[in-house]
Symmetry: C2
Subunit: 209 residues, 2 copies
Amino acid sequence: MTRRTFHRESEAVRQNDLIAATLDSVAELGLAGATVREVAFRAGVTPGLIRRYFDNKERLVASAYRTFISDLIAAAEAGCGEGSAQTRLAGLIRASVTAPVADGRTLSIWAAFIGTVHSDPAMAEVHSEGYQAFRDLVERLIAEVFAERGRPASPQEIHQHAIVLNALLDGLWIEISMGGDDFSRLNVVQIALNSTATLLGIDPADFKD
Amino acid sequence: MTRRTFHRESEAVRQNDLIAATLDSVAELGLAGATVREVAFRAGVTPGLIRRYFDNKERLVASAYRTFISDLIAAAEAGCGEGSAQTRLAGLIRASVTAPVADGRTLSIWAAFIGTVHSDPAMAEVHSEGYQAFRDLVERLIAEVFAERGRPASPQEIHQHAIVLNALLDGLWIEISMGGDDFSRLNVVQIALNSTATLLGIDPADFKD
DNA sequence: GCGGTAATTAATCAAGTGTATAATTTCACA
DNA sequence: TGTGAAATTATACACTTGATTAATTACCGC
């Protein structure tokens, strides 16, 4: 009986593969299904190998969460593109309510992880960082949009607008990703842009990307 | 060595206790911490007893989820009270962004459960029912508010407003319950009411509860 | 080509899980 | 006050989990 053949990989590649396999497992089977054996199998590797690249399973999962959140925010941020503040804000909104950010698989992973935040300090930290990053991005963009329109606004006002807009985007993202409604017949981007404009006190007709 | 003493309870009481113990476990330890032994311990009972009242652990968890969602919606609905449609909508909003609906423990439980929805059909059904119920409630109230104000609106318009308002409430609920921000210094009810009014095209000064 | 090193596998372990069942105890009812 | 039936406990089982370690294998540098 011969052993299975294998080939060596760089640390970066292996870590990447293992994280990807973890996210796949979580997406399809939930967090409980992301066992060491399942992850190893999906990564085309043996369970024992995981511990060469991650101290323990907890670290692996936390790393996967970190990568996931980081990629998610990067994808949203990429929608900003360049141009006027208004254009960038509109781009962020569009990106937030369309694939790949707004997507069933993405939501599944997010949901699985979010449930651990309260009882796991390591996960809480990862969550907190990502959340802050997105919220700051939204707040900054709002401030820029107001400045661009020569509209005076106190930091408090901007902060409150950021809270509300952030909530709206989160909620829409969840609703759309969940897919409970028939959003295929609806122009979700238009709805998101219009509501945003309304909330910020901008004429919707004047707020496009 | 003598056995521990015990006393018999009605089926209703025992089921209730076990479900409460399950929710407590989930809230404090996450879904993974809600083991049969932990739940039994918190219910002051022996693990084996669980299976006399629930076919298996899956059923127990699903039942806990069902009561949780049901109670949550009931709490929100209770905020509606009676009076004009506008008053009731305002009441629903107030209830949605204040305790006990908006609350860390509530969010923890919700988050833990929501992560299972995608990979567990039974949980998906429970979720779907609750989600529908809340969404319909919001949509109905919006329709009544518009009717009350003598403002014509097509079903599509109402539907879209419901989507947006529901998203806003979900998002605010999460943000507030998460407690990342310093909401203690903020009048979250006022913020929620004002944004709702703005979204629905109502003068915020004219929308109070 | 070849040897040494480090990556990878294979096999195993202890702990914890949900479940099943027989032995006990409580309590309603005679 | 006994007694039978039902609720509850205690114990055990089969299985899965994350972790550990020794044996093997690939491959880099000479």
